[in-house]
Symmetry: D2
Subunit: 148 residues, 4 copies
Amino acid sequence: MSAPPDAAAQQRAERAAAALFRRDRASQALGMSVAAVGPGRAEVHMRVREDMLNGHGACHGGFVFALADSAFAFACNSYNESTLAAAAQIDFLRAVPAGTELIAAAHELWRGGRSGLYEIEVRTAGGERVALFRGRSHRVAGSLTDEG
Amino acid sequence: MSAPPDAAAQQRAERAAAALFRRDRASQALGMSVAAVGPGRAEVHMRVREDMLNGHGACHGGFVFALADSAFAFACNSYNESTLAAAAQIDFLRAVPAGTELIAAAHELWRGGRSGLYEIEVRTAGGERVALFRGRSHRVAGSLTDEG
Amino acid sequence: MSAPPDAAAQQRAERAAAALFRRDRASQALGMSVAAVGPGRAEVHMRVREDMLNGHGACHGGFVFALADSAFAFACNSYNESTLAAAAQIDFLRAVPAGTELIAAAHELWRGGRSGLYEIEVRTAGGERVALFRGRSHRVAGSLTDEG
Amino acid sequence: MSAPPDAAAQQRAERAAAALFRRDRASQALGMSVAAVGPGRAEVHMRVREDMLNGHGACHGGFVFALADSAFAFACNSYNESTLAAAAQIDFLRAVPAGTELIAAAHELWRGGRSGLYEIEVRTAGGERVALFRGRSHRVAGSLTDEG
């Protein structure tokens, strides 16, 4: 007996995310956690640490980008087909201090051929928007887990 | 006796970069070094560490972005006027493994009003291009050092 | 007796759009029509003509961009404060032939200081997505109509 | 006797551009002319007409984009392999009035797999920069001429 299509897609997304996160030393080292994942979507959390602050005393844009980029990666790899970031555009809306809990929510806008477009919103736990990120993905050979 | 205009602009850029880097815990924690700075330009180096690798075994895009973003920050703050990143676009050209020495070279494309555009190329020490980054800056009130 | 706040904002958006469209020879010459407008949003229609086709036999990207850019302009000028496009990013999803009725729907993502971000979706009348456009606006001095 | 490699590549670029332009009703209707073309590069000229003005009395961004997009198309199709625009980013630096002669110069930044990145500068005949455009291309099946 196999799972219904939606449940199978959900399981595949969860297994791909688990496999990807297990090998993703960067996301682990930055203290990220994958709060939710599904076909074409993911939510990742990260708390801004003191060692993430830039010379203006706010979270360095690189770490805001890294959080959005990780949510993007979990979303675009959720079909268990190895997929890389080809390009991304980020708009920074608000500077955030150390201690802020950041949430990046990714959802798929479009897929065609080997390409995909994803929108990622980074907000504080309090709901203030911090950045908007749009990523273009490129599918390559291979999968994240053996299960297909 | 004051320095000739070009030398003064160069000194101002160096002082601003030194002040910014001193307070920039993120760039320090990532092992970056400012190899060169001048009016509207900067070069920053960073070595890819094991804890910067993503689930595909290559440097996480967030760290490539962070390096480019720091070079951008030193370049757009080189007039000793506090300037923030408003937006950025990055194209990823090549995946790089741990141990790679990365160089981000930023130069100014345009300034008008409070806005500016900067181009940052990220390459390996061997000269292979890794990413192209274009940043839009926004000048705010204040300066980096007291000297103006 | 004055209109309630929402009705006043809606009237202001409609008057600003009418004033802008009256002077906008480009949008008129391309056969665009403003189907709807409101505070921070606009919908503009355009039919792809034979003289809009590129060398691949599809609508030239410049005209898809122009349609999105006009919807962006009506949305970001809807507060009756003169506002210009500073930058835009477009992703082309589908080629469209002559005769296609295109709809560009713009809505505001964010405003802060003199800047704003708008998302514009271009789709066919049949609902197929043709392009995604994100625009950054910059407010300047002046208004579209005398009424404020 | 065949032409030396560089001359052959140049001839191929010229033939591909001629074939593309002949079928490109949009670029013709906008009064564009291809001033130069070569492997990975192209220069296209266009004069801003009265019917290209927007509601602010300046050249509508759609026509500035269209000019850059055409230069991009001639550059990325210069290998005589059918190539489409996948995405583009434009920064508008200066508003231009009717009568202005605009020049768009495209050059290749990178190619890998089926993708390419091109930089296009739009300037006035007097050398003032009007816009910076970066395009991502995607190669599809087919060629522009039969000669390969």
